[in-house]
Symmetry: D5
Subunit: 96 residues, 10 copies
Amino acid sequence: MLFKVEMKVNIPHDMPADVVADIKAREKAYAQDLQEKGKWRHLWRVAGSYANVSIFDVEDNAELQDLVGNLPLFPYMDITVAPLCRHPSSIHEDDR
Amino acid sequence: MLFKVEMKVNIPHDMPADVVADIKAREKAYAQDLQEKGKWRHLWRVAGSYANVSIFDVEDNAELQDLVGNLPLFPYMDITVAPLCRHPSSIHEDDR
Amino acid sequence: MLFKVEMKVNIPHDMPADVVADIKAREKAYAQDLQEKGKWRHLWRVAGSYANVSIFDVEDNAELQDLVGNLPLFPYMDITVAPLCRHPSSIHEDDR
Amino acid sequence: MLFKVEMKVNIPHDMPADVVADIKAREKAYAQDLQEKGKWRHLWRVAGSYANVSIFDVEDNAELQDLVGNLPLFPYMDITVAPLCRHPSSIHEDDR
Amino acid sequence: MLFKVEMKVNIPHDMPADVVADIKAREKAYAQDLQEKGKWRHLWRVAGSYANVSIFDVEDNAELQDLVGNLPLFPYMDITVAPLCRHPSSIHEDDR
Amino acid sequence: MLFKVEMKVNIPHDMPADVVADIKAREKAYAQDLQEKGKWRHLWRVAGSYANVSIFDVEDNAELQDLVGNLPLFPYMDITVAPLCRHPSSIHEDDR
Amino acid sequence: MLFKVEMKVNIPHDMPADVVADIKAREKAYAQDLQEKGKWRHLWRVAGSYANVSIFDVEDNAELQDLVGNLPLFPYMDITVAPLCRHPSSIHEDDR
Amino acid sequence: MLFKVEMKVNIPHDMPADVVADIKAREKAYAQDLQEKGKWRHLWRVAGSYANVSIFDVEDNAELQDLVGNLPLFPYMDITVAPLCRHPSSIHEDDR
Amino acid sequence: MLFKVEMKVNIPHDMPADVVADIKAREKAYAQDLQEKGKWRHLWRVAGSYANVSIFDVEDNAELQDLVGNLPLFPYMDITVAPLCRHPSSIHEDDR
Amino acid sequence: MLFKVEMKVNIPHDMPADVVADIKAREKAYAQDLQEKGKWRHLWRVAGSYANVSIFDVEDNAELQDLVGNLPLFPYMDITVAPLCRHPSSIHEDDR
């Protein structure tokens, strides 16, 4: 089951550089692990901003909350979620 | 080159049913043709709304304008566009 | 799987009264059928407005789209959707 | 008498961890006490966000203010309130 | 129990003048009846607009919905509602 | 001459508790003094929020500015103002 | 007593040309009469839009409502009002 | 003197096709005439929308109003205007 | 050439009192100097807020930027600008 | 390929003056270098604000992200991006 997740990062300007670097490193490792597991199917940078557009593929709403809520950058992001499903004009049975 | 395109359909309530049916049929054929050509890479319904989230794969901004501006439903949709590119945490060289 | 669905009704003022009455009657029957089936678990009027707050209980996003998209009033409503899941402070294992 | 209450938590990033932990523990105990008393009838997490959708069941507006205003997280939340009542299409006499 | 109710009137420009006049006459009679009954405690025009600020005094949310939903101008107004209660700095036990 | 004034309080979370307590005490004394003088005719809490709805009765715009601008909490509030006057459907010659 | 009044004109596109011309002629005569009486002290076009910024000089809120509510274009305008008073840095005792 | 002007076109869906065609033809001729005169220095389509971003080069605000207000599509566009001037980091003395 | 300039002041609550006092004193002197020179033609307080409505009279956009950008409070204000010109219904050739 | 990029600068008020000066100096050098390379084709100040309107000329979305994301002021700016292309009414084959 797919969800579009958009994340806009707002790191406080007075956070120490090493703390920021640590969070970002953990975020990257976490994101790559979820991609390899097929849970985070697409991850694109929005050009010109510190933001991304993502497609998550989860069992249910609870798993979405679990995966998104554990993002190391979660406390520093504005996040919007939209549930997706098959479009009647799609040529794919299972567009993921 | 990828763009996220979100379309929200607002068909005027007093448009004759046969006109609506014709526009929708042409929209579907147009959308399926672009998907088969690889230009319209993803097309998802947003659950609970008359809207979609799409990923277009075009040569440049001019082609995006050409493809979107010729949608049969174009005059009846609110459309937002975001340019996408590779995210530094993506595990894919070319996530399309 | 639960979703909060909020619906705000905007019936065009020039729609003939009998057409409005027919749509409303079908909407009511449809809503009561889904409630009896357990799909539409809660349905409340927002006091002072032509709007409701609803809780849907569905298998997945596709079923949500199917149920909401077939509402007779669907073309005349502004609808917002939020995916819900268990809150860690809830005293219920399965709050529905 | 029911109210929908939506709460979005915004804890300041520079609040000491032990202060945060204390507030959250008191919030959880407070929430569970109100649920057991039947005042806080539903409490759901909005998937993908640090937010909840709640249904309160109170005597009047004054009790709503008393219960919500004493939430330990109250100073750190954006809260919206909507008064609810029976929907004419509801199959329940008393949907709580 | 008090509610602030704000109403902004948007009468369609192509509604026949006699229909408008009839609705307005019924609205005025209805408003004056509720004021005399003590249900509509205050009614002020917002200077420079076709809008009002009102204070309703009702038994519960259901009565608010009943009174507001039966306004003859109800289908042609944007309405916002806020539940009110005693302010701790008020010098009145029962400010109505 | 009446004005609706809505105030939403946003006290900075890092303001020392004794400073906050002092400002609130002065705010309360100031509010009660203006109520006793008949300048601050109504003061209601908006249930579920740190906000109020007030009705001021002043000589002119300058007095409104003088009274509101001297609120001890003035620097920490979002304030909106609407000029009010007699509504043609009011049953009161002088609804205050 | 001064008020800033901003008016944005939205004439329905299907209003007959002679009706529009008549309303505009009456609006112009009305506006010029109020200017000559000193009630409408300033009237500027916002460059690039069908909108104006105006300064009204009235006895009280009721007169503002009377003057603005009788504008021939009143039903076709979005209007916002702000009460003005002397600024402490103004070099004029009575800046009108 | 430069202004950024953004125009979003909203042609009513029930306007006869020949009327639309005539307005568009006059708009195009008007736009090209102003470009040739150097008044309309840049004109770009926003990809994926019926909108443009333009740079006007005028003597003063009055000329801007004159040029924009006479656009054949003026009654059917949402227009926003921003005054521009030399940026201190520009390498051009006169960037037009 | 006239511009409406609206300024809303947001002084950070943790700025030392003497720094605030110094900035305000310089702002006042600067504002009065520009008024005496005829550049800042009108300056009104918006009643009930820490905001003003101003009319600037400048040679061109560059001078507007120069005058506004050098306001001592400039870094602490939300500022909106609208270019003004003669209104066709104005009775003044040069309403300043 | 052109993009309109709008940047609004929000430097934290408690950033040390020398840090601010350093960032601004690097921003200016960076902006001038990109202008000389033809990548940053236009750069205008929005009169009355700490903001600019820019036109970037890039190979693709990835280059836009690279150029904008490396702006020294990037973490302190609100940035909006719009993809541009040739307008059918433009008299220029290649309006840059």
